[in-house]
Structure formats: structure tokens, C-alpha cells
């Protein structure tokens, strides 16, 4: 069984991939910022219903970000 050779990307190609990943991470961070402000607003209004779902969603974004960063550091 032969392994498929890994294609070597040029630096320009790698940079494009890095930009793509960066954009995605940035969108997720902005989403987390919105979640934090919306949750704080609800909490100050005595509404605790959104607190735990928002924490879960934010933690999910963090996991996704960590995965993207890992793929970026491997590249």
C-alpha cells in the first residue's frame, strides 16, 4: 500500500488559507461578543433563561476556534 504524497503548497497558497481561517475565526469571535452582550442584557433584566444556552453556544464557538487554530498551526 502506497501513501499518497502530500502536496506542497506555496507560501502564497498557504497565506490564502490562513486568511480564510482568520476570517472564519473573526466571525465566530464577533458572534461571541454579540452573545455576551445579549446575555448580560438579559441577566440584568432578571431573565436567566438564555444564560446557559448562550454559555453552551459560546463554548462551542471556542472549540471551533481551537480546532481552526490547530489546523492553522499544523500548516
Amino acid at each position: 500500500m502506497t501513501t499518497k504524497p502530500q502536496r506542497q503548497l506555496t507560501r502564497a497558497q498557504r497565506t490564502t488559507v490562513v486568511y480564510g481561517v482568520l476570517c472564519f475565526v473573526l466571525i465566530l469571535v464577533v458572534l461571541q461578543l454579540w452573545l455576551l452582550t445579549a446575555t448580560m442584557n438579559a441577566y440584568l433584566d432578571d431573565d436567566d433563561a438564555v444564560v446557559w444556552p448562550a454559555l453552551g453556544a459560546s463554548a462551542g464557538c471556542l472549540l471551533l476556534n481551537l480546532g481552526l487554530m490547530r489546523s492553522l498551526l499544523r500548516r
Binding site: V25, L26, L35, D45, V51, S58, L62, N65, L66
Partner: protein, 218 residues
């Protein structure tokens, strides 16, 4: 056996040796042969910021040459790390809100507290009381039409004491000219970002009791 069917079958199925040649691994099309080799991208060649050749560069730059394009590339990766750090900080903030929410849920309700009697509070007047703690100043207001209202006295901007102006129908914060509506406690003007917390009242006979505090954002 030149006409052995098994041998003929294996010859037909065998990989063309040209495909596995060093320059054409796995390729049958017209792709360039060195596609799996490290590319010679113009960016791969380090050029000093002044674009002069390395031999014309000062000694320190020759000794500590920096790969400028690679430096940019690493900076982007560091930016990604920084973004992920911010992402972690946001999750920590969410966890802090969740922990406070749990503490608030488990905290015993403040309980009922007598704050004044109707007889001692004429129409169009106000009095101060502390609720739920001794350091939580509140205002009890009796409007000209006999309605009872109670709010926290701490302005939601910077916790200055608000002053009731019953005839104008407002509560005014003198520190930064914050204005709240007397009838609802909502922030009308100035820097306060939220309405005043409302104190729930119960009237039993002639006595007025505070029975809870309602935090609001609108």
C-alpha cells in the same frame, strides 16, 4: 506460455511504469511533473526591506537575516492565536454570568419589610428607606393622585442618589443630569443606561411593606 490468459490479464492491469516515475507520481495528465516538489515562489526568496542584495547589506543584517515574507506569515498565525485567546475570554465572561445567575437563583428572597405608614406619607411627598440591605437606599413616593411608587435611589449610571421632583413627574440625578420617569422609573435622558430597579410594595391596612426588588433593562 506466451498466450496464458492470467499473464495477459496481469500485464493489462499493471501500472504504466512511466506514471510512477520520479517526476510523474500518480499523474497521467498534463500537470507539471514537479507539482509535489517545494515550489520556487518569488516570495520564498528573502529580500531585505531596502531591496539591495544581501552582499550589500550591513553586517548585522547578514548575521541575523530575517525572512520577511515568513515573518508576515507568522504574524497572521499569531493574530489567530490572539483571536482564540479573546474567544476564551468571552467564554469566561459567559461562565461568570452563569455563575452569578446560579448564585442569584439560590439566594433567599429578600423578605417583607415594613417601610412606612400611609398616615406618615402625605400626597405629593417622598421618604427614604433601606431595602433589602441596610446599604441599599430606596425612595418611597406618594404621588398627588395617591399612587405609591418605590425605586432604588442609586442612579444606574454611577450610583449617585436620585432626587424625586414629583411636580415635574421625574426623578433627577444631579451628578450628570440623568432623568428618570417618576411613574415607571424608566431612564428618559442623560447617561443612565437602565431604568431604576423597582421595589415591589404591599399595603396592609395603613402599613406599607417592601416585598421584593425588580431589576430591569427596559
Amino acid at each position: 506460455m506466451p498466450d496464458d490468459p492470467q499473464t495477459r490479464f496481469e500485464q493489462d492491469r499493471a501500472i504504466d511504469p512511466r506514471i510512477d516515475s520520479p517526476e510523474r507520481e500518480g499523474l497521467t495528465g498534463t500537470t507539471r511533473g514537479n507539482i509535489y516538489e517545494p515550489a520556487t515562489d518569488p516570495e520564498d526568496v528573502t529580500v531585505a526591506p531596502d531591496h539591495r542584495p544581501m552582499t550589500a547589506q550591513p553586517r548585522w543584517r547578514r548575521d541575523f537575516a530575517i525572512d520577511w515574507p515568513e515573518d508576515d506569515y507568522v504574524a497572521r498565525r499569531d493574530f489567530a492565536k490572539f483571536l482564540v485567546l479573546i474567544s476564551g475570554a468571552f467564554v469566561a465572561g459567559q461562565a461568570w454570568i452563569a455563575a452569578n445567575s446560579l448564585i442569584r437563583e439560590r439566594r433567599a428572597p429578600p423578605g417583607r419589610k415594613r417601610i412606612a405608614s400611609l398616615a406618615a406619607l402625605p400626597l405629593g411627598s417622598a421618604t427614604m428607606f433601606a431595602y433589602p440591605g441596610d446599604h441599599d437606599p430606596c425612595l418611597l413616593i406618594r404621588t398627588r393622585d395617591g399612587k405609591l411608587l418605590a425605586y432604588s435611589q442609586k442612579c444606574t449610571h454611577l450610583s449617585c442618589a436620585v432626587v424625586p421632583e414629583i411636580d415635574r413627574g421625574i426623578l433627577r440625578c444631579p451628578c450628570h443630569e440623568g432623568i428618570f420617569e417618576l411613574a415607571t422609573g424608566r431612564n428618559l435622558a442623560g447617561p443612565p443606561p437602565r431604568p431604576l430597579p423597582a421595589v415591589e410594595l404591599e399595603v396592609v391596612g395603613d402599613e406599607i411593606f417592601a416585598a421584593g426588588v425588580k431589576e430591569r433593562t427596559r
